[in-house]
């Protein structure tokens, strides 16, 4: 019997030749990640352990991205605590405001997340790096502290669900729509404790940006990780970025899967997840005429250059509806700069969009676009829980950048083809 990708990666980080689902192992980790919300708690726990230094200052990555540039005095104090820790520990990969981006856009861009690695992050969307063939998973602050101190962490080896996406994508259908469709199908706990493995023709054809969007939302199905095997596209993406050599792993043909789920993507249209769960998905054709007050384009899910290009394509020569605030958050400084170079920022500003420096911002109801009671947003982010973007009685509808941009123009949830013909 062969092994799945996640089993191989975990085994390679232990002294065992093979591991089995359900087995609990202590594994070496390659990268430990934290942000300005989770690192303060981790620092407190780290200081209790009794070691002076982190296990490897080049393998701890800290990105203050949630409430930065600091939204208030308390968040400034949290960020200060994190900054001091990074300085004391001489953390190589601490990214200050001005250098930083949204963590899960930044790490791949900097070549810090590589195939075959184990990456743990005190942020649930750490699973994004599964798109690069890494076993990447979200953990808590105590886990982050333990991993910073020892370079190891405990894992329960997950069973794997394999998803095969066959066929060709319809116009305006993206990685976001595929993952929303999948979560709509299996539910928000459909992959609880499981590794999700995305494969098939449609995944091969998907860009790295689109793949990262898919892996990013594995957690919204309860998944431990969302893996995509490393291929030519991955290697090309990493060519001038990878900071270390890497070993890619793929599942054996006779690997044991808990389940195999197949989708024909030619049957999928752009998706919208209704409040208050990402599983409440509908095709956009059945979601139209929901009036919106705000459109958010960005986040670790959809703040990459391809996302901005699609949004700009829809917004070009159009204008945001007078009743809507449209906000764009480029994922990193490099993405922002690229968007300027390509004229995308001009298109946004001419269309009446507010463009921000990279930050998680309104995605988690932090700052920069909080909703009032009764307001509705369409958002390219990842969660539409109660109160996620502001008041507990506000609503978030999740969609792709194309659908969010089209909806911003119309003032209600709209299929992009109604705006761009």
């Amino acid at each position: 019997m062969g092994m799945t990708m996640v089993e191989k990666i975990i085994a390679a980080h232990t002294d065992e030749d093979r591991v089995r689902p359900g087995q609990i192992v202590n594994a070496r980790v390659d990268i430990v990640l934290g942000n300005d919300v989770t690192t303060p708690v981790a620092v407190k726990e780290f200081n209790k352990i009794g070691v002076n230094r982190v296990f490897d200052r080049e393998r701890v990555v800290i990105v203050p991205d949630h409430f930065t540039p600091n939204k208030d005095i308390s968040s400034a104090e949290q960020a200060l605590l994190v900054r001091k820790f990074a300085r004391e520990q001489e953390i190589t990969n601490y990214f200050e405001v001005g250098e930083m981006g949204i963590e899960h856009c930044l790490l791949p861009e900097k070549g810090l997340a590589l195939p075959g690695e184990i990456i743990v992050g005190a942020d649930s969307h750490t699973c994004t790096y599964g798109a690069l063939g890494a076993f990447a998973t979200g953990v808590g602050s105590t886990d982050m502290a333990a991993a910073m101190a020892t370079g190891q962490l405990w894992f329960r080896v997950p069973p794997t669900i394999k998803f095969i996406y066959s066929g060709r994508l319809n116009p305006w259908v993206s990685g976001k729509d595929l993952i929303l469709y999948t979560i709509g199908d299996i539910g928000v706990d459909g992959a609880l404790y499981r590794a999700m493995e995305f494969s098939g023709e449609a995944i091969s054809n998907l860009s790295m940006d689109g793949r990262m969007t898919m892996s990013n939302m594995a957690i919204e199905a309860g998944g431990k990780c969302g893996l995509i095997a490393c291929d030519e596209k991955t290697r090309e993406y990493l060519k001038d970025r990878a900071v270390r050599e890497y070993t890619a792993y793929e599942s054996d043909p006779d690997a044991e899967y808990e389940k195999i789920i197949e989708y024909d993507v030619s049957e999928i249209e752009p998706q919208v997840a209704f409040p208050h769960l990402p599983e409440n998905t509908r095709p956009v054709s059945q979601a139209s005429h929901v009036k919106i007050d705000q459109a958010v384009i960005g986040s670790c899910t959809n703040g990459r250059i391809e996302d901005l290009r699609i949004a700009a394509e829809v917004l070009k020569n159009n204008h945001v509806h007078p009743d809507v605030r449209c906000l764009v958050f480029p994922g990193t400084q490099a993405i922002y700069k690229q968007a300027i170079k390509e004229g995308l920022i001009d298109i946004f500003i001419d269309a009446g969009v507010a463009v921000s420096t990279p930050t998680c911002g309104p995605c988690l109801g932090g700052h920069m676009g909080i909703l009032a009671k009764g307001e509705r947003a369409i958002s390219t982010t990842n969660r539409n829980f109660v109160g996620r973007m502001g008041h507990p009685e506000s609503e978030v509808y999740l969609a792709s950048p194309a659908v969010a941009a089209a909806s911003a123009i119309k003032g209600y949830i709209t299929h992009p083809e109604e705006v761009v013909r």
Binding site: I24, V37, T38, P40, V41, K44, E45, K48, I49, G50, V51, H66, F67, K71, D72, S74, S75, Q78, G121, A122, D123, S124, T126, G138, V139, G140, S141, T142, D143, A145, A146, A149, T150, W154, R156, V188, D189, L192, Y193, I219, G222, K224, L277, L364, G365, G366, R383, F385, V386, G387, R388, P392
Partner: protein, 164 residues
């Protein structure tokens, strides 16, 4: 460890955003976080909760964000134990790592009602409904996790190992 307390009953998919909304995450002080615990789901929770009380919920408790502030807020608010049909995996890890007792029992999660008085024996994994004289048995934890629980959390366990 044994706990006795009254039940706060919730449904499926109680996410970490309602356990502790992100607008309060500009603090990492457990006492401060506890004053906003469950605020967006049950606004009177913090007024009603008493030391030792127990949360009983449905599937996928603690889904969403990795914020350890969520189990910290619950623990600091005085909750002795969370019983659910299932837990989201990061919450599950976090609860074990920080020493917030959790138990998995579908039967208990389905049958136990709001306000009921429970007695929980963590070692035995038994949940006694004192009002209805019913006993439920929770799934046992794997040995490795029991070690973390016995040590009083992951940091205590590692401290022992690093110091050796």
């Amino acid at each position: 460890m044994r706990f006795k307390g009254k039940v706060f009953k919730y449904g499926d998919n109680v996410d970490t955003d309602v356990i502790i909304p992100a607008r309060y995450l500009n603090s990492s002080d457990p006492e401060e976080l506890a004053t906003h615990c469950m605020e967006d789901l049950d606004s009177s929770f913090t007024e009603r909760v008493e030391k030792g009380d127990i949360i009983v919920a449905g599937k996928n408790f603690g889904s969403g964000s990795s914020r350890e502030h969520a189990p910290l807020a619950i623990k600091t608010a005085g909750i002795s134990c969370v019983i659910a049909e299932s837990f989201a995996r990061i919450f599950y890890r976090n609860a074990i790592n920080i020493g917030l007792p959790i138990l998995i029992s579908k039967e208990a999660a389905v049958n136990i009602e709001e306000g009921t008085c429970l007695e929980v024996d963590l070692e035995q994994g038994t949940i006694k409904d004192l009002d209805h004289n019913q006993t439920y048995t929770a799934e046992p934890f794997p040995e490795f996790m029991q070690e973390i629980i016995k040590a009083g959390g992951l940091i205590e366990k590692i401290k022992g190992e690093v110091g050796r």
